[in-house]
Symmetry: C2
Subunit: 431 residues, 2 copies
């Protein structure tokens, strides 16, 4: 018989138990900071109707990357981000939700793009959004920026410091209007070029910007990257948008966020209308963004006539953590511990006593793992206790069991002594 392949499909992550524990503990810290900020979890379907998933708003072409299939007469596909499901859900529950509505998602998403380093076909995405019905104060922009910062800072020990670059679509909308960059296509093309600024050589970027926006406008736009104030005084609407952006950056800084005003941040999505931002590592060779978000004026327009405005952010725990975990640069030793106590009955007659001890240890909130292959040699049992990195081995021999005792061995120091079970558990708990 031919054996089936044991490797997962290319582009799919598979972690060992210790790596997984590292991922999960870091993810849990980030989730906790979202919960403390009053975001409730939405767990939306992974499969959506094809017509729901198609979205011409993206700057990139998502459709070729989508996993699409049919079941019965229905064409459907796998979610590739959190926004579309959120929009569908909110449109369907407008009368049940309390606005401003705060929600986070922590879910697997799928993009069948060519696998490359740090990019996965299946990946976790965290999304957080605050949605208003009709309107939503721009002060909520600070809430999203600081909450995402808190989430990333909660795993500072793992990923180091981060900073956030804050731009504004509102500033560009006003600047474009004043500089004669008008018409949907021209605006969109100019934004796409600005979004690519750091990926292009300087002269190529300058030429592309001139092509998209015209020579005069391109000069003024380019000057604003280094000196946003060069856009001041052109129109009062533009001055207002600039002031609003400055206020968001200052308030984020006041909240302890390393926020930097940067007009080259525009984000690759058509629906942003206000502040946009991207997070970056402060002390890493990795120069690509970690995640980001922004403000949008009409989330649910494809699903409902209601006006839902919001501000949201998204980032990828898989992209953030998996390359680091797999690089060997992280010390994973603390994630290798599988038990507090390995319980080792020395023979079949001690199994009942061992199972009782296991139950008592777990009831005390400690992790207990028994080794029940009592036909194995003592050496194999101790090796198991060592391999699962148990802090203690609880050895239950014939004599000890008769006397109601267990031998407790500290796996770090090698010290061993006999106690009644309850006393041994207390010793583990206090250690």
């Amino acid at each position: 018989m031919n054996l089936k392949p044991t490797k997962p499909l290319s582009g799919f992550v598979e972690l060992t138990p210790a790596q997984q524990r590292c991922f999960d503990e870091n993810a849990a810290k980030m989730v906790d900071s979202l919960k403390t900020a009053g975001f409730g979890r939405l767990d939306l379907p992974t499969i959506e109707r094809f017509e729901v998933l198609t979205d011409k708003d993206n700057f990139e072409d998502i459709e070729t990357e989508m996993y699409v299939f049919e079941k019965g007469d229905t064409k459907m596909g796998l979610r590739y981000d959190g926004t579309i499901g959120l929009a569908r859900f909110v449109a369907g529950h407008i009368n049940d939700l309390t606005f401003p509505f705060r929600a986070y998602q922590f879910a697997k998403n799928y993009r069948g793009e060519r696998p490359q380093k740090g990019r996965y076909r299946e990946f976790y995405q965290m999304d957080l959004d605050i949605l208003g019905q009709g309107d939503l104060s721009p002060d909520y922009d600070i809430e999203i920026i600081t909450t995402m910062n808190d989430a990333l800072t909660s795993i500072k020990d793992t990923i180091g410091n981060v900073y956030v670059r804050v731009g504004s679509r509102a500033v560009w909308n006003q600047a474009f209007a004043a500089l004669g960059v008008v018409g949907e296509d021209k605006i969109r093309n100019t934004l796409i070029i600005i979004d690519k600024r750091e990926k292009m050589p300087a002269d190529e970027f300058a030429a592309a910007l001139r092509d998209a926006a015209g020579a005069d406008a391109a000069n003024k736009i380019a000057a604003a990257f280094d000196n946003p104030k060069s856009l001041a005084g052109i129109s009062s609407e533009l001055d207002d948008a600039l002031a609003q952006l400055e206020m968001v950056v200052q308030r984020a800084q006041a909240a302890g966020v390393d926020a930097r005003l940067d007009l080259s941040i525009v984000r690759g999505h058509g629906y942003y209308t206000g502040v946009v931002f991207e997070y970056y590592f402060a002390d890493s060779d990795i120069k690509t963004q970690i995640g980001g978000g922004g403000r949008y004026e009409n989330l649910v327009s494809k699903f409902s006539k209601a006006k839902i405005v919001g501000v949201g952010a998204g980032f990828g725990p898989s992209r953030l953590l998996v390359p680091l975990i797999e690089s060997g640069k992280l010390d994973l030793s603390k994630y290798e511990r599988q038990a507090d106590v390995a319980v080792l009955p020395m023979g079949a007659a001690q199994v009942d006593a061992a199972l009782n001890a296991v139950r008592a240890i777990r009831a005390a909130g400690l992790v207990a793992v028994p080794f029940l292959d009592t036909n194995k040699k003592f050496k194999a049992m101790m090796e198991y206790a060592d391999k699962i990195r148990a802090r203690f081995a609880m050895i239950i021999g014939e004599d000890e069991a008769k006397a109601g005792l267990v031998a407790l061995k500290d796996m770090t120091t090698g010290q061993q002594a006999s106690f009644p079970v309850e006393q041994a558990i207390k010793k583990v708990k206090d250690s």
Copy 2:
């Protein structure tokens, strides 16, 4: 423009935030009990190669229910249970893992079956397995049965009591051999009939069992459902298998599990070879099983020549909890609280003070949610604090802000008094 549909696809679960909090908190309790039992999480891909997913071992026809699609030249599909991925993973990591290997999964699975009450096309499945290399003591059967019992008992307040019916494939294998039920097809067909016993009228079941096993064997098999001891003395191997089953049931009972020996439990999967078991509600109208598992002799045979034996269990948190949550029978009020403190600045000038207060409240580990639409009326702000079920409203007015004070209103009693922020936070924390 035509609006897109807001409902999820038929058979897909979508919970409101309060319902989701109920689901998540119950799921977390079950996961915690698996962790305390020393099971580490495996988070395996949702998408597998089609050839990995196909499996003739199932009594039911899975293939027509699978979600299958192609990307490039690769045919693939969505996982429908936890076993196949586990087998693939273990076969690929035999040299990296410590055996007995203890793993749990808590993941979404997919079956495109006709949606019906309590059955979903996307559903969570919890799986726990203990795997041995070469051999594994049958005493580990108790570990799985008690751990699954602990997981279900951890949410007793939600689902009530459970009991477990324990049968044995080993008993039937020996009984069939002694009673002349031989040949792969005859054995398989007889097991399939036994598995359906409770879904068939008694006379229909008796006839089907006669057809599958022959009249003599059918009589002896039927007698054993009510009186397992009627199989005693037929062969020494059968006696051993019966004694082993009795021991597992007794030890599970000794561990506080409501375990009942029941030979009509055989489980609908070809690969079981020893003890098999199913959990049921003790105090509910729902008579169908909650989940179950059993012992298997060769998990990875399709992937590797290594011999991996194990015992595992699986159950569906979606099937277990979602119908209950949606039935309205559960009191969801405690899951409706979205914040400890709603922070309400009375005007734009108080927003900075409000954001500072929010930060301080969250730093104290409490959930703080600000209401920043300061153009709204005071009544709307208080309504928001009430709707998100905040325990307290922290009201920041102009005079209070000047004096460095906040007004703290207890949303339950309506009592209100002014304090410095830190003192107000302490009051919330102590309440």
